[in-house]
């Protein structure tokens, strides 16, 4: 589904120093996988995830999605792919504070260019009901607990029925119980909905949810 071939990501630190956040990484994420990416802080996990999620472009090497090199896609085409193909979950939840829970869940559909084969609002309400957040639909994010906010973020990632969900330290700001609840939720989505899941974490017990673990160290995949 997504292939990285010899991908490097580098930043120019000063005149004659270049820092490599990722060095010649090659890997493939296959459909319906549940992958954990682990490694110490600063090892390049988020950088890797941003490349897989089409938010970033490699300094060298190729990111290939559905047989196409992303270097050949326009900014708009990448936006559309992110919209339809990928769902993101972040450590800081990143809900839009001035939008209600329902509106946050609906937000990706606002940016959809294709005709959806379902009614977005009905679908959002259905998801909220299914995951026990329906009473909060008109609340604003700051009225929710961390665990609830992250669940809303997962629903927002689900609304476009993506093939892939990318979660960057999704449990990092949660207490242990809420963290495991979120991981169980992602596991269910992988099992029942056949959604490919990639979770970035530096915690071993969270990484254990993955069926395959990719270890990153100093910008390299071991």
């Amino acid at each position: 589904m997504i292939k990285l071939q010899n991908v490097s990501k580098s930043y120019r630190v000063d005149e004659d120093t270049i820092f490599y956040a990722l060095k010649k990484v090659s890997l493939e994420i296959k459909e319906t996988e549940f992958v954990s990416i682990t490694g110490p802080s600063g090892s390049g996990k988020s950088t890797l995830m941003h490349l897989i999620g089409l938010l970033d472009k490699p300094s060298s090497g190729d990111v290939i999605i559905q047989g196409k090199k992303i270097s050949q896609l326009s900014d708009d085409e990448l936006s559309t792919l992110r919209n339809e193909f990928v769902g993101f979950v972040f450590q800081q939840f990143n809900l839009i504070p001035k939008l209600s829970v329902l509106e946050n869940v609906l937000l990706p559909t606002v940016y959809a260019r294709k005709k959806l084969n379902y009614d977005p609002e009905a679908k959002a309400l259905e998801l909220l009901t299914k995951f026990g957040l329906i009473e909060k639909k008109s609340s604003f994010p700051n009225k929710l607990s961390g665990g609830q906010q992250q669940r809303v973020a997962v629903l927002r990632a689900l609304i476009m029925e993506p093939k892939l969900i990318l979660a960057d330290e999704p449990t990092g700001n949660l207490d242990s119980k809420s963290g495991h609840d979120i991981m169980k939720l992602l596991g269910e989505l992988n099992r029942n909905e056949k959604i490919t899941i990639v979770v970035v974490t530096h915690e071993a017990d969270i990484a254990a949810y993955g069926k395959r673990v990719i270890k990153v160290k100093d910008g390299q995949v071991g």
Partner: protein
């Protein structure tokens, strides 16, 4: 929920959170739009008022005034200010011109008038009996003065209704009463119907007294007039009469010592003055709008920087550059339209306040202009911050703390 609705609602929701900040930001626009619309309302009102007055004078009216009044499209005429005057001889000469059917010499006197209720500073127009017809005055009570009064230098006055009420409490009380103006005693023989307007130079006939020009000589031993108003025979072309009058006047005066004016000419001068005035006003107000626009640009840069991470999140969810651009432009347009609407509201209040004594009014084009200009400002000054937001690298924006 529709795409645009979502974006507009997002922008407005922001304002609800910080009303004070929204208000202060749009204050420049508020003041700018208020200034433009208020000044335009005053200008329009004055222009309409003056136009109405001259249109009432009709087609066959001419004025003879000292000096060059309509110089280069504006009121020049030092002579009229410097006090050059006409005299009895001119009156006689003009009365002999073929085609002149009405002739009113004008001189004026201001002074303290003592009524039964109040003492007021008043003005008297000393003129002929033809003045009533030329100026379109009609009698409400009593009578206008006539040729006999003029021949006898009769100390009689006709009063405008406003001044009559002021001095005597009511128009009926004023009739046949005595009024003394600078120690000369007059009898009020008539009251005119309210005309509610002014003439050349904004005279409000309702507040004037009118008397025989011969009587006016009491105050003026030199027996002079400040201008003539003339009614011409409608069966003779106006140009012919004008040429004839010109010939007569040239016998005693140089070409640049007098002017012949038609109301339509005066109107076109009034129009051109107002057009110039409007341009100047708009230019001045533009500065205020520019300052307002820069204020909006400033707050929008702050907003973009505050929302960097939000932009990153939206980009991750699939927003295109243009979606982000539109979001911020809508926000800045909303901000400046709020300012424009407040400014317009203030201008409406202002017009209401002055309407008692000034004929200001706001027309539809002014309102369209106010809202059009403020949305244009929102777009123009919102584009740069919005482009900055749209061009953020998604990954940098997401990482932004």
């Amino acid at each position: 929920m529709g795409y645009l609705l979502f974006i507009v609602r997002s922008a407005l929701e922001d304002f609800k959170r910080s009303k004070m900040q929204t208000f202060l930001t749009s204050l420049g626009i508020v003041i700018g739009v208020f200034a433009v619309i208020m000044l335009m309302a005053l200008g329009l009102g004055l222009k309409r008022y003056i136009s109405d007055q001259f249109e009432a004078l009709g087609k066959n009216t001419l004025f003879v005034t000292p000096g060059q009044v309509l110089q280069g499209g504006g009121f020049g005429g030092a002579a009229s200010v410097l006090g050059q005057r006409f005299d009895i001889k001119d009156l006689t000469n003009l009365s002999r011109v073929k085609g002149v059917v009405g002739l009113a010499p004008l001189s004026s006197k201001s002074g303290k008038a003592k009524g039964t209720v109040k003492t007021e500073y008043i003005s008297i127009f000393f003129t002929s009996a033809d003045f009533a017809d030329i100026a379109g005055l009609t009698i409400d009570k009593g009578r206008f003065f006539d040729k006999t009064d003029i021949d006898k230098h009769a100390k009689v006055l006709v009063a405008g209704p406003k001044i009559a009420e002021k001095l005597f409490g009511s128009t009926i009380n004023a009739l046949d009463k005595r009024v003394s103006v600078d120690n000369v005693n007059f009898t009020i023989i008539g009251i005119i119907k309210s005309k509610g307007g002014g003439g050349l130079g904004g005279n409000d006939y309702d507040s004037y007294f009118f008397g025989p020009y011969t009587t006016g000589f009491i105050y003026d031993p030199q027996k002079q007039f400040i201008r003539f108003a003339i009614k011409t025979d409608p069966n003779i072309p106006l140009a012919t009469v004008k040429a004839e009058i010109n010939k007569v006047m040239l016998k005693r005066y140089k070409d640049d010592e007098f002017s012949l004016l038609e109301p339509t000419e005066i109107l076109s001068v009034v129009n051109s003055i107002f057009n110039i005035m409007n341009i100047v006003l708009v230019a001045i107000a533009s500065i205020s709008l520019l300052v307002g626009g820069i204020g909006i640009m400033n707050i929008m840069y702050v907003t973009v920087s505050d929302k960097t991470r939000e932009v990153g999140v939206r980009r991750a969810l699939g927003a295109r550059k243009n979606d982000i651009l539109l979001q911020f432009i809508v926000e800045s347009v909303a901000l400046s339209i709020i300012g424009g609407a407040l400014g317009l509201g203030l201008a409406f209040l202002g017009v209401l306040l002055v309407q008692g004594f000034f004929p200001a009014y706001i027309d539809v084009p002014s309102m369209v202009l106010a809202l059009g200009v403020s949305s244009a400002i929102g777009i123009v000054f919102g584009v740069l911050p919005a482009r900055k937001a749209a061009n953020l690298e998604p990954v940098e924006a997401i990482r932004y703390e």
